[in-house]
């Protein structure tokens, strides 16, 4: 399928926004301005963008501890995200959630989740609700391949399949569960697992945003039409550590492997494609980047200057 040029440029913009956002998060950590830790999405941008661009604004997503990319791709704004990461009042969750719990109801983001696999039930329930309300919404459940270890995933895939729920499970296989290679933790054949439960299953190159997008489009529309759930496996790689503090990685993954994967940087791949198809030249791309940099800088500025929540808020929002 040939994607329209505006679309490819939009992908470029979104992926670059995520990249720059995450680089800034790393800086915030390194300069001790961010409380706690964060898990960077750098290297995996094509997946969030390719999938979310196949969704309506009112479609649902659930996300993970590595969730900034999903959140931005679904339409969240940079400033309020930074504010959340810093625990500030204008943050998406008024500082109560932080990096691992950002949620944005307005863009259909039901929340990041710090329990591996923890959102599989939530996403499936959202799909069930969409069907019951005949809203024609679809739910997308993002998770790392580590979540294949959680039994909950199989429980809900079974129900999604039985009841043909409008859901797409997106497995971001970045090769590692924290510090352990997924092949040491994952037996048999990953794609056969959802297949055995009756899900339409596709494995693709997660660095190729075009492939991700066209596949997601097909699977999402299929789900929307009531033809049942699907499972999309995207091969990818996180270019940084498991979290911002994971600097010395040699003991669990070879430098050489990191370099090889970096040659398949999804943003550079897309840039190459744009240039080859003469949809943009180096200068146009640099222009986009500059613009985004200003957005990111303004967002950080905003967050750094934003107030903390009133201490009394600690007791608010326990009950609705």
């Amino acid at each position: 399928m040939k994607l329209r040029s505006e679309l490819l440029l939009r992908f470029y913009r979104q992926m670059t926004k995520i990249r720059l956002f995450e680089e800034q998060v790393n800086q915030l950590y390194l300069s001790a301005k961010m409380p706690g830790l964060a898990h960077l999405y750098i290297g995996e941008e094509a997946i969030a963008v390719g999938v979310c661009e196949a969704l309506r604004r009112d479609d649902y997503i659930t996300s993970t501890h590595r969730g900034h990319g999903h959140c931005l791709a679904k339409g969240a704004s940079v400033d309020r995200m930074f504010a959340e990461l810093l625990g500030k009042e204008p943050g998406y969750c008024r500082g109560k959630g932080g990096s691992m719990h950002i949620a944005d109801q307005e863009t259909g983001n039901l929340g990041a989740n710090a329990i591996v696999g923890g959102s599989a039930g939530i996403a499936t329930g959202a799909a069930m609700s969409a069907r019951m309300r005949a809203s024609s919404q679809v739910a997308v459940c993002f998770f790392g391949e580590g979540a294949l270890g959680q039994g909950l995933l199989y429980e809900v895939m079974n129900m999604a399949s039985l009841w043909k729920l409008p859901i797409l499970y997106v497995c971001e296989n970045n090769q590692y569960n924290e510090y352990t290679h997924y092949r040491e933790t994952t037996a048999g054949n990953v794609a056969r697992r959802p297949e055995a439960f009756g899900l339409e299953t596709v494995s693709i190159d997660g660095q190729d945003v075009g492939a991700v997008h066209t596949t997601a489009l097909r699977l999402v529309e299929r789900a929307r039409q009531g033809k049942g759930p699907a499972f999309l496996i995207c091969d990818t790689y996180r270019f940084h550590g498991h979290h911002v503090g994971d600097i010395n990685r040699a003991y669990y993954r070879p430098k050489k492997e990191e370099e090889e994967w970096k040659r398949r940087d999804p943003i550079r791949l897309l840039a190459g494609r744009l240039k080859a198809r003469k949809l943009a030249d180096e200068k146009a791309l640099a222009g986009i980047e500059e613009e985004l940099k200003r957005e990111i800088e303004a967002g950080v500025e905003f967050a750094l200057n934003a107030p903390y929540p009133d201490p009394a808020e600690v007791d608010q929002h326990v009950y609705a």
Binding site: R133, E155, P309, P311
Partner: protein
């Protein structure tokens, strides 16, 4: 066992004698008629109407689209319930035995209970989780536990323990209409207990205890079927010249502390009766006659732990807060 007459006469419909199970069923049916977003999901809930037959007849009225038989996947259906509740539905998730809450703690405690808070008040999870408690059914160790204390211990959850058919109906309606996750525990030995239940709509607020019987000598604070035990005991005590006041807690979260404390102040003596395990309150019980002040318990603040440092730092005891408490107890503040 016979249920006490209701002392909260705010229902309008004519009263009928009904079992506890029938009262639950009627509450569900009325709520499902009233609100199309209410649905039931659980194992053998449809044609079978659960092993205790509590839900018999509902699938006939509401169809399999709203009374949904699920696989034997407790964690899965709890998770589905959370997601559906966050997106506009009001699921009633049926967990056949209370002993199986062990399987859903992550979905209930790490997800349902915290989502409203973690999202800074934006998302909400209006789901009800119905399950059972209670022993003496000869069902052995994995089908007889009363695990409501775990859930009462989790900020963000409400926990309801009805003691009679009247309350069962009114409390379940409130639970379904509540915007928070509510865990509703039914003593399986009470399903056949009969009592008056008004026809039509009425609710009983969550968080309000009920004095089932007045007395001046001792307070019996009880939950669920233990209220029935307390009432029997009160009758027996009466004959011995001891007037027992029986308080039906009705919800352990929120807990109506005021009613309980007021009664204890009046009677000066109390027994707390609950079918869960007890075992702590060591000093308050073991050194009572030596104490000059109440035992002060300091723990985590009763909120999910917030991310923002200015908030998080208020959630744990510090040397300063301990010093303040200690000075107060010693009368030096």
């Amino acid at each position: 066992m016979k249920a006490p007459a209701p002392t909260t006469p705010h229902a309008t419909g004519a009263s009928r004698e009904m079992t506890f199970a029938e009262a639950i069923r009627e509450a569900l049916a009325e709520e499902m008629r009233r609100d199309p977003t209410v649905f039931i999901i659980g194992e053998d809930v449809a044609e079978a109407g659960t092993p205790f037959k509590v839900l018999s007849g509902l699938v006939e009225e509401f169809g399999t689209g709203r009374v949904i038989d699920s696989p034997i996947s407790e964690a899965g259906i709890a998770g589905l319930g959370v997601g559906a509740a966050m997106t506009g539905m009001r699921p009633v998730v049926d967990i056949m035995f209370g002993d199986f809450v062990t399987l859903i703690m992550d979905q209930i405690v790490n997800q349902a209970a915290k989502i409203h808070y973690m999202s800074g008040g934006k998302l909400k999870v209006p789901m009800v989780l119905r399950t059972t408690l209670g022993a003496t059914r000869r069902s052995a160790a994995q089908h007889s536990q009363s695990l409501h204390a775990w859930l009462s211990h989790v900020p963000g959850l409400k926990v309801v323990l009805p003691s009679n058919p009247y309350d069962a109906k009114g409390l379940l309606k409130s639970a379904i209409r509540d915007d928070n996750p509510v865990v509703f525990f039914e003593d399986k030995m009470m399903y056949q207990l009969k009592g008056p239940v008004p026809a039509g709509d009425y609710t009983i607020p969550l968080g309000v205890a009920e004095i089932r019987r007045a007395g001046k000598d001792i307070t019996l604070v009880a939950t669920s079927s233990m209220v029935q035990v307390a009432l029997s005991a009160a009758d027996m005590l009466d004959k011995g010249g001891i007037g027992a006041e029986v308080i039906d807690v009705r919800t352990t979260a929120p807990l109506d502390k005021a009613t309980i404390i007021e009664s204890a102040k009046k009677t000066s003596r109390a027994v707390v009766l609950d079918e869960g395990y007890e075992g702590y309150s060591v000093i308050a019980e073991g050194a009572f006659y030596y104490l000059d002040a109440p035992v002060k318990r300091m723990g985590a603040r009763s909120v999910p732990v917030p991310f923002s440092p200015v908030l998080e730092d208020q959630t744990v005891p510090t040397p300063e807060s301990v010093v303040e408490a200690a000075k107060k107890l010693c009368g030096k503040l």
